[in-house]
């Protein structure tokens, strides 16, 4: 992978680009079928992306998508499906909000304290699924679905006035956090403010890459994802790895709600965005679990989110953006798969050529079943 391979690089880019084009085309067909102008909505949405205030919105939203998707991706990297990011980030955020409202340390301590609170909460919640998986063999998919639902109840419980709840108007909140826990944003003047924790998201992305690709632990984790059995034979304790990955994933997930919590809302209330964890799944997939890919995917998704409301003003249904999100995921994964197979075939052709060039004893038998399997 080191040596630059033009054809390969071209294909890596061509895959998503073709997929996007297909997705746009299909959406245009949907528009046409419903008797609407198939081009104008896209023109409008592209135009939105040129406005600085919309850009700020996109970046802010993308930062949360990004963290959530990283959390999902680290699970995917070892074949764990952490569907529970949704519950984990919400719990992480509410705990941070509660701590932030009741503790008041200097900012240099307060902010790390809040970050840690969120990390530990998320990790704890994911850890339950992890423990159930390693000790009792419970599928993490089901366990995290259940834990999401339980998290909802827990949050509503924490909102109760005799627990941590503070009613403001008709809104349930956890009370305003102390200012020492607010993370100052990057002022963009007219356009608004970029959340300070966007920086954290970027750092997490870099950290994710380094840990996965440059550390022993990362190697073990990837090995476990590629083949549990081979990893075990190589000395990875599979149970410990599952638990660790789940904890890391949950810890990351815990942070996903903090950009808005510490950067804007400063309390956890009924308006706190939900569903980011589920979107994170789609975004991680789009970004192929790579930190750069996820960044693009998160921005793309946020753009569709933020640019589509404008359509309402022009008589289009903005749901077309949701349709597009679905189509994009589908066509992108299909094209990824096609590209992957193409790459594999190409490689085998190269190996075949090599073997043909060698003599006599090089040729070997095959068991394509294993080749195709994971």
């Amino acid at each position: 992978m080191k040596k630059f391979d033009k054809e390969r690089a071209l294909l890596a880019v061509a895959g998503p680009v073709i997929a996007l084009a297909v997705a746009f085309a299909l959406s245009a067909i949907v528009l046409l079928a419903s008797g609407k102008n198939p081009v104008e909505p896209f023109a409008l949405m592209f135009e939105q992306a040129t406005f600085s205030d919309v850009q700020v919105l996109i970046v802010n939203q993308a930062s949360m998508y990004y963290i959530a998707a990283l959390a999902v991706a680290i699970g995917f990297r070892m074949n764990l499906f952490n569907i529970g990011v949704d519950g984990q980030y919400q719990l992480g955020a509410i705990m941070a909000a509660v701590v932030g409202a009741h503790m008041n340390l200097p900012a240099v301590l307060q902010i790390p304290l809040l970050l840690l609170t969120a990390v530990f909460t998320g990790a704890f919640w994911a850890g339950i699924a992890g423990v159930l998986k390693v000790t009792r063999g419970v599928s993490e998919v089901v366990a995290t679905i259940m834990l999401n639902a339980i998290a909802t109840s827990l949050i509503v419980y924490m909102w109760k006035p005799d627990v941590f709840g503070v009613k403001i108007g008709n809104n349930s909140t956890t009370g305003e956090m102390h200012e020492s826990g607010w993370v100052p944003g990057i002022d963009m003047g007219e356009a608004g403010e970029i959340y300070g924790l966007v920086v954290l998201a970027a750092l997490l992305g870099i950290g994710y890459w380094i840990v996965l690709n440059r550390t022993r632990f990362g190697f073990d984790l990837r090995a476990s994802g590629a083949s549990t059995t081979a990893a075990a034979a190589s000395g990875v304790d599979p149970k410990r790895m599952v638990l660790t990955a789940m904890l890391i994933s949950g810890g990351l997930a815990g942070l996903a709600g903090l950009p808005i919590l510490l950067g804007d809302s400063h309390t956890y209330n009924l308006n706190f965005p939900t569903g980011i964890g589920f979107l994170g799944i789609g975004i991680a997939l789009l970004g192929r679990n790579s930190p750069v890919g996820i960044a693009f995917a998160a921005l793309l998704w946020a753009w569709l989110d933020k640019a589509s409301p404008e359509l309402d003003f022009y008589g289009y249904d903005k749901e077309i953006a949701v349709i597009m999100q679905g189509l994009i995921v589908l066509s992108v994964v299909v094209s990824y798969e096609a590209v992957r197979e193409w790459g594999l075939r190409r490689q085998q052709r190269r190996v075949g050529a090599e073997l043909a060039a060698g003599h006599v004893l090089g040729a070997d038998n095959n068991s394509p079943k294993e080749v195709a399997g994971r």
């Binding site: 949907v30 419903s34 499906f81 569907i83 159930l132 009792r136 063999g137 419970v138 599928s139 998919v141 089901v142 366990a143 679905i145 259940m146 834990l147 639902a149 339980i150 909802t152 109840s153 827990l154 509503v156 419980y157 109760k160 589920f278 799944i281 789609g282 997939l285 249904d317 749901e319 077309i320 953006a321 949701v322 349709i323 597009m324 999100q325 679905g326 189509l327 995921v329 589908l330 994964v333 299909v334 990824y336 798969e337 096609a338 197979e341 095959n366 068991s367 394509p368 079943k369 294993e370 080749v371 195709a372 399997g373 994971r374």
Partner: protein, 424 residues
């Protein structure tokens, strides 16, 4: 059934991976367990006076709430038995609600049911194309289908429903009811028996009463689909072929089975079942389509299926559990669930005794302690917070899975990509 070595099999090694012990519960044992559980519930009812936990209406509500979950789960079962994981059930349910209502308000409820099934099938077909033909990761495809179905129905709802009487951008016009039945004498008799409050007998009467009181025809069909699925999958050549695609598609292929065909069929049927579940929601449970109506039932259906060990009977129990706890919750949750605390404590006590008999003393003590805590909670309060009530079905599922997951067994090639001509 499992005595691997016999006199004739001299060379048969006796150390083959032994089949997981006790994997298959025999019918009598299963019945005994169910009866035991019911007896416990009955005791709890009598002690706590929470008659609500086993009465006829409770059970009939539970049944109604269980139907869409069960149908989604059945859909999951069909797909996974053929080796395709279907997390897109949620989306297929959504399609079912929309299509069902769309056809239902115009051409009557039965047409609605049919079209709802077709809507689900479309979702299934898409999933099949993406996972079987393009071999995309099944979870990925499912997630995408969920997003797409949500977007598509939202986009289409205003176009189809706005401007019709009672319709809006988020709601379809009302659909004629499908009709339901109550078995005349039986229902009342069971109801009376149930009202007597006798130990065990009344509880059974409640359970059975729920099955014959105010049952929609569609519910009947849904219930019938459980044994039907079992029969088709385990007793017909078609089912054998379908299952073989989930266990070892290459072997199936080597015997001339068209694996693609069966996978396609299974996933389409899976979508159809989910679609039926959706139609149930938008025609029977409510007489109209409403945005957000499905609210996660697809995922719960999937959980019920795993809970049920990829078997129709187990799935029915799983769906029933969700339906039951849901209905407990809706029908005066706090007191009912409070009564369940006692049940939990009793169960833990039984568990502790069992562990002690098996000489796992540490486990037994821990279990006993937890049981005592639950009992203390029960004794010290009169009600549980609403939040506990809402979380109950999920907590129960987790606990049950934690106790039984190691015995679960999914189809061997479930979720794996398959390509024709790969057989070695």
């Amino acid at each position: 059934m499992t005595a691997p070595t016999t006199a004739t099999d001299v060379n048969q090694p006796s150390l083959q991976p032994a089949a997981p012990t006790g994997r298959r519960m025999s019918w009598p044992v299963l019945l005994l367990v169910v009866a035991g559980a019911l007896a416990l519930v009955s005791i709890v009812r009598i002690i706590t006076g929470a008659d609500g936990i086993t009465n006829v209406s409770q059970m009939s509500t539970a049944l109604q709430l269980a139907v869409p979950i069960g149908l989604a789960g059945l859909g999951g079962l069909w797909a996974e038995r053929a080796g395709v994981v279907n997390i897109g059930l949620e989306g297929m349910l959504i399609l079912g609600t929309w299509f069902g209502a769309w056809a239902g308000f115009q051409w009557g409820p039965w047409t609605g049911v049919l079209v709802g099934i077709i809507g689900g099938c479309l979702g299934g077909l898409l999933h099949a194309v993406v996972t079987v033909t393009f071999r995309v990761n099944h979870i990925v495809s499912g997630v995408a289908i969920n997003i797409l179905a949500l977007g598509a129905t939202r986009y289409l709802a205003p176009l189809a429903f706005e401007g019709h009487q009672g319709g809006s951008a988020k709601q379809s016009p009302a659909i004629e009811p499908l009709g339901h039945f109550t078995v005349p004498g039986l229902s009342d008799a069971l109801r009376d028996l149930n009202a007597k409050g006798w130990f065990f007998v009344s509880d059974i009467a409640g359970l059975l009463g729920g099955l014959v009181t105010n049952v929609s025809w569609l519910t009947l069909i849904a219930v019938a689909l459980i044994p039907a699925t079992w029969w088709i999958l385990w007793r017909t050549a078609f089912g054998l072929r379908l299952r073989s695609c989930g266990e070892n598609p290459v072997a199936a292929e080597s015997l001339g089975v068209n694996v693609y065909k069966y996978k396609y069929l299974a996933v389409i049927i899976s979508g159809g079942l989910a679609g039926l579940g959706g139609a149930f929601l938008s025609i029977v449970a409510n007489p109209f389509y409403l945005e957000g109506q499905v609210s996660g039932r697809g995922y719960i259906g999937l959980a019920a299926m795993i809970f049920g060990n990829w078997m129709p009977g187990g799935l029915a129990i799983g769906a029933g559990l969700f339906g039951y706890t849901d209905s407990l919750n809706l029908r005066g949750g706090s007191t009912n669930v409070h009564a369940l605390l006692l049940l939990g404590a009793l169960l833990l006590l039984v568990g502790a005794i069992w562990l002690a008999v098996r000489k796992k003393y540490v486990h037994a003590v821990v279990t006993l302690l937890v049981g005592a805590l639950v009992f203390a909670w029960y004794a010290g309060t009169n009600e549980v917070p609403n939040q506990v009530v809402a979380a109950t079905p999920y907590v129960i599922t987790l606990v049950v899975l934690a106790l039984s997951a190691q015995r679960l067994r999914m189809p061997k090639a479930d979720g794996l990509p398959y390509r024709k001509g790969q057989g070695g």
